[in-house]
Amino acid sequence: MKPNHHLDDATLLSYSAGALPAALAVVASAHLERCAACRARLLDADRIGGVLLQQQRVGAPTEHARAAMLALLDTEPAFEQETLPPDIVEEHQPDRLPGALHPWFGNSMRALRWRRVAPGVQRIRATGISGGDLMLLRIAPGSMLPLHSHGGSELTMILDGAYDDVLGHFGPGDVADLDGEIQHQPLTSPGVPCICVAATDAPLKFAGWVARTLQPLLGF
């Protein structure tokens, strides 16, 4: 199952540069885990970084620094120990959250402890993330969300279920990487709830469809 909706080029560039706010980077990583096409584009973005690194104007390293580097090599064991494989798996597995989300929400979709925030809408907010806001949302099947455009950056990835809007059909693995000008009104598909992970880059200042939906109901 290959995703049909991908990360925006500007988002990938920022991810490659280490400049994407932390919450958005978590969602981008979750999509990259599932999407070989975006991984290939990310390598292109990293190549730009490689060339910019080459272009840095510099002098020669000091003898002191060279000697310190060589001394470090002496302390190295001859063979490197194999590290544990990280929890990154490309295939979509039922119940399993993408590895990038494990530190924030655990690994099992079934084990999530949802909190009802509005009729048909449940949420879990990640705590302790430094840059931006990160949350899981579970929206009842067949729900129409009220909509609009917004100012900040927002990135949403579908984990289960689906929705449709003017941009098309969004299913598991797809990301909605919206810039401020797009207006949309997602309608979740019938059958199962739509579960997604959403990130915004502005902590405490709610913007975007997630917020506009919840704001009046929650009194943010």
Binding site: D9, A36, R39, V58, M69, E80, I88, A100, D201
Partner: protein, 211 residues
């Protein structure tokens, strides 16, 4: 090094035409040269080759990290750590996948996010993504970075319109988010993103030169 350049010229005259050979005015060794040095590090654990890589890249990594605002003592440490990673993981370097400059850029960027931005989960995630990419490369699914592409990409970056060039540099060399760039330049967020999109499209088209 000259021998390697001639070998490329014999294989493909088209590539050779686009290739910029090292000369007194352009003394930077090319990706093919670094790939050979990495081979010696990996297979023979050759320290002289390692130090050639160190002498060239350590000051560049240092400058890159200092520009990102990393304090000097920490940047010294991170440069050592990046090159130690190179020494340890030389066998996993695949010149068909990425040039040494790209490889080291990733290592330094990852260390920056781990140590300076303090995102503790970034390194294992990047390692996981790297493994997926490695598997694709082994299956022949990925686009290799050819040795001449770097020169073409460098020229393409130099030819970017001034605004796009500025945004690309603020992004990569100052690690500024879209919102930060937007605020600093008093430029709408949408314009920042669309300029970066156009810049990336241009640079990418140069990486995919017609064969």
């Amino acid at each position: 090094m000259m021998g390697s350049d001639q070998a490329v010229a014999e294989v493909s005259s088209f590539r050779a035409k686009r290739h910029v050979p090292p000369s007194p005015s352009n003394p930077t060794p090319d990706a093919l040269y670094w790939s050979a040095q990495m081979g010696a590090v990996s297979v023979k654990r050759d320290r002289a080759s390692f130090m050639r890589i160190y002498d060239h890249f350590a000051p560049r990594l240092q400058r890159y990290l200092r520009n990102l605002g990393v304090p000097e003592s920490m940047s010294d440490e991170l440069v050592q750590e990046a090159l130690l990673a190179l020494w340890r993981k030389a066998a996993t370097f695949d010149p068909a996948r990425a040039s040494l400059a790209t490889w080291l850029y990733r290592v330094a960027r990852n260390l920056y996010i781990d140590h300076v931005r303090r995102e503790p989960h970034w390194l294992p995630i990047q390692e996981g993504l790297d493994r997926l990419e490695h598997a694709e490369s082994a299956r022949g699914d990925s686009q290799p970075e050819s040795f001449v592409d770097q020169d073409i990409l460098k020229q393409a970056i130099d030819r970017l319109p001034p605004v796009q060039a500025k945004l690309v540099r603020m992004c990569y060399l100052e690690s500024k988010s879209h919102s930060e760039i937007s605020a600093e330049l008093a430029m709408p967020l949408g314009s920042v993103k669309s300029s970066l999109r156009r810049a990336f499209a241009k640079l990418q088209s140069n990486m995919r030169a017609p064969q």
